[in-house]
């Protein structure tokens, strides 16, 4: 990805916090779930940015917050010169025709009482893009584009399989000229053979219609396949960012290393010879995330300083960013860093003044 190009979407220090009501009537506890906690990210036109992380890491919340389906607590989302985070509702509605989302559950995201032609045609009405015969033709064209026969126009969602429903959902998003689509786990609910179909479809449409995707998934194999660049999230923060191949072959941050080593490879020979980093314990709660580096409670390389200092995402290698104070541009390989040393502190300080 050309870093010199202008980003389509530029996210700056985005936070999404959810207050929890709890405690007793007289002693309200003021707990806050920090689902997204200071994310900065640029998404370039025409790219697929993969966002990967385990459940509860905040990846879906981030995707929804970019589209203002969840209200951001603070930060900026710059899109075509507007800050989406602070637009009025009517101004936001104007932008929505360029911003779409594909949901995980193709069963829950389609209205069961609407026919396929009504579902796909709805955005055409909403944004007053086509009427009458023109609308009918457009709907048919969209159905063909996603590989559905126009014979199905009058059918209802329950008459379709999961993969076909996901195609209907995608056709609906394409009804308007999208610049940017958030695909939130679009293939997780589908069978293996259908997953491949949908991934290929999304890729073809991206090239044909010059779309930009934020592809959210917990499936590293799918992410690696569809994405140009990959961002790894852990407890509300992005901990590593690089192009897909690099992040897979040469991850720097210990969490990414563990995540990638945990992915089963469909090859018995590779599996037999693999050294797997098995992390201890579960992901801590985002209500009270650990101080310092949020990963230090499970990190095999954590040292004293990691408990204190919250690492920033800094460039360790060209276009390869990681949030870990134990590595630095001079010594990117954590295996070779002396125990307890934190060579990245220096780089951290430099990035915070920048």
């Amino acid at each position: 990805m050309e870093t010199s190009a202008q980003p389509l979407i530029s996210i700056k220090d985005l936070k999404v916090h959810f207050p929890l009501s709890g405690g007793s009537l007289f002693r309200r506890s003021r707990q806050v779930v920090k689902a997204v906690d200071g994310v900065s990210l640029d998404i370039y036109p025409g790219e697929t940015l993969g966002l990967v992380g385990e459940s509860g890491c905040g990846k879906s919340t981030l995707g929804r917050a970019i589209l203002r389906l969840t209200e951001p607590t603070s930060g900026q989302i710059l899109f075509h010169g507007n800050d989406l985070a602070h637009l009025s509702n009517s101004a936001m509605r104007e932008q929505r025709r360029h911003l779409q989302i594909i949901f995980q559950d193709p069963y829950a995201s389609l209205n069961p009482r609407m026919t396929v032609s009504q579902i796909i045609g709805e955005p055409l009405d909403t944004f007053q893009l086509a009427r009458g015969q023109a609308k009918k033709e457009r709907v048919q064209e969209l159905m063909e584009m996603v590989g559905l026969s126009a014979r199905f126009l009058k059918r209802y969602p329950h008459e379709f399989s999961g993969g076909q429903r996901q195609r209907i959902g995608i056709a609906r998003e394409l009804a308007v000229d999208n610049a940017f689509i958030v695909a939130d786990e679009p293939i997780s609910a589908l069978d293996v053979s259908i997953q491949a179909q949908i991934m290929n479809l999304l890729d073809r449409l991206r090239r044909q219609k010059n779309l930009t995707y934020l592809f959210i998934s917990h499936d590293l194999r799918a992410i690696r396949h569809v994405s140009d660049r990959v961002a790894v999230m852990y407890l509300g923060r992005i901990v590593e960012l690089a192009d897909g191949k690099t992040i897979y072959k040469n991850p720097l941050m210990p969490y990414t290393k563990a995540l990638i080593s945990a992915v089963p490879v469909p090859d018995p020979k590779v599996e037999a010879g693999r050294r797997r980093i098995v992390l201890e314990g579960d992901v801590p709660s985002p209500i009270n995330p650990p101080r310092g580096c949020r990963f230090h409670t499970r990190c095999p390389y954590a040292c004293e300083v990691c408990r204190e200092i919250e690492p920033q995402l800094v460039q360790i290698k060209p276009n390869h960013f990681a949030a870990c104070i134990r590595i630095s541009p001079e010594e990117p390989d954590i295996e070779r860093v002396a125990p307890g040393a934190a060579p990245g502190l220096h780089a951290q300080a430099a990035s915070s003044t920048a």
């Binding site: 293996v192 992915v263 020979k269």
Partner: protein
């Protein structure tokens, strides 16, 4: 283990489980046969609707009747036909000699009962433990599956545990009576990757320690690659291919298996266009007359649409349900 089993713990022959529905008879499992040796791990792979879960529920006689019915076949476990046992005898086997873990640990644990109570029930019923013994055993099992502070946490309720921890509790419960066979139905599908790795390592370790045989049912070819000795690939209620794990991955002899393997992105490879199997899995109530995979198969010919394919033995123990099994097998060898 009794002597008559000559190393075979389980032998399934021509099992057919049908469901009567409004749409007609759904042949969820239609004439499958396989064997499981003592200490072996068998993977059953298939997409949704392939019959892999129904096959496994049939083994435990857990098919709801009506609408379901095991219409024919035999399931020989340790020398006895499970289908001919009385309900009482089945109950004695279930949970004691054959144990199961399911995909969703939240729905298979009782949310109203403490973990301790649920674990103790198993050994009180099957091993005749008194309360004291059962409780000690429960704590020991939780320690075995890696629950920290097991003694303090044994009286927790399921909702106080995370998904990975609940799955550990399920495994503890399943292994309480040292079963000879553990059936794990998508045990890690609901879990995150790093937790999946923990659970798979745990199953591997416990299997080595207890010498139990394992049937691992999954849709994830990556999971079976690292865990199993042999694999059965199911499609439309039938066994499409059966082979030793390495051979199946290296030299698939069935177009469906080959397509399935190629449609999983391999993260270690350079990426290009991903192979896709076209079309949709068949409607089990309206199967085409010939090979059920023919409408989606890149190798299908007229014959495939007309006649049901033969079950061909390619090498000892490697079977493929295909008119062109030998050709496909030879092609796969060329590609290596």
């Amino acid at each position: 283990m009794t002597a008559i089993s000559n190393g075979k713990l389980l032998s399934v022959k021509d099992l057919r489980t049908y469901f009567e529905t409004e749409d007609g008879t759904v042949k969820a499992v239609d004439g499958i046969s396989f064997e499981l040796k003592q200490g072996e791990t068998l993977g059953i792979v298939g997409e949704s609707g392939s019959g892999k879960s129904v096959a496994n529920l049939s083994l435990m006689r857990l098919i709801p009747d009506p609408p379901g019915k095991i219409v024919s076949g035999s399931i020989t476990f340790d020398g006895r036909d499970v289908l001919k046992l009385t309900p009482r005898e089945v109950r004695d086997i279930r949970g004691k000699r054959i144990a199961m873990i399911f995909q969703d640990p939240m729905t298979s644990l009782n949310p109203f009962l403490r973990i301790s109570k649920q674990l103790m029930e198993v050994t009180q019923l099957h091993l005749g433990h008194n309360r004291e013994q059962a409780r000690e055993h429960a704590i020991r099992m939780l320690e075995t599956v890696g629950i920290p502070d097991a003694r303090e946490r044994v009286d927790s309720y399921p909702h106080e545990f995370s998904g990975g921890m609940r799955q550990r509790v399920m495994i503890a419960m399943a292994l309480s009576c040292q079963p000879e066979l553990l059936i794990a139905d998508e045990p890690t599908t609901a879990l995150d990757v790093t937790i999946q790795a923990q659970i798979l390592e745990l199953i591997k370790r416990l299997k080595a320690e207890t010498e139990a045989s394992v049937i691992l049912i999954t849709h994830d070819l990556g999971v079976v690659a690292g865990m199993t000795d042999r694999i059965i690939v199911m499609y439309a209620g039938k066994v499409f291919e059966q082979a030793a794990t390495t051979e199946l991955f290296e030299r698939p002899g069935n177009p469906y298996t080959r397509g399935l393997l190629r449609s999983v992105p391999d993260p270690t490879d350079e990426q290009g266009h991903l192979y896709q199997i076209p079309g949709l899995p068949p409607d089990l109530a309206r199967l085409p007359p010939g090979c059920p995979f023919a409408p989606r198969c890149d190798r299908a010919e007229e014959l495939c649409r007309r006649e049901f394919p033969p079950y061909v033995e390619l090498t000892p123990g490697h079977y493929s349900l295909c008119h062109f099994a030998s050709e496909v097998f030879a092609e796969s060898a060329d590609q290596v």
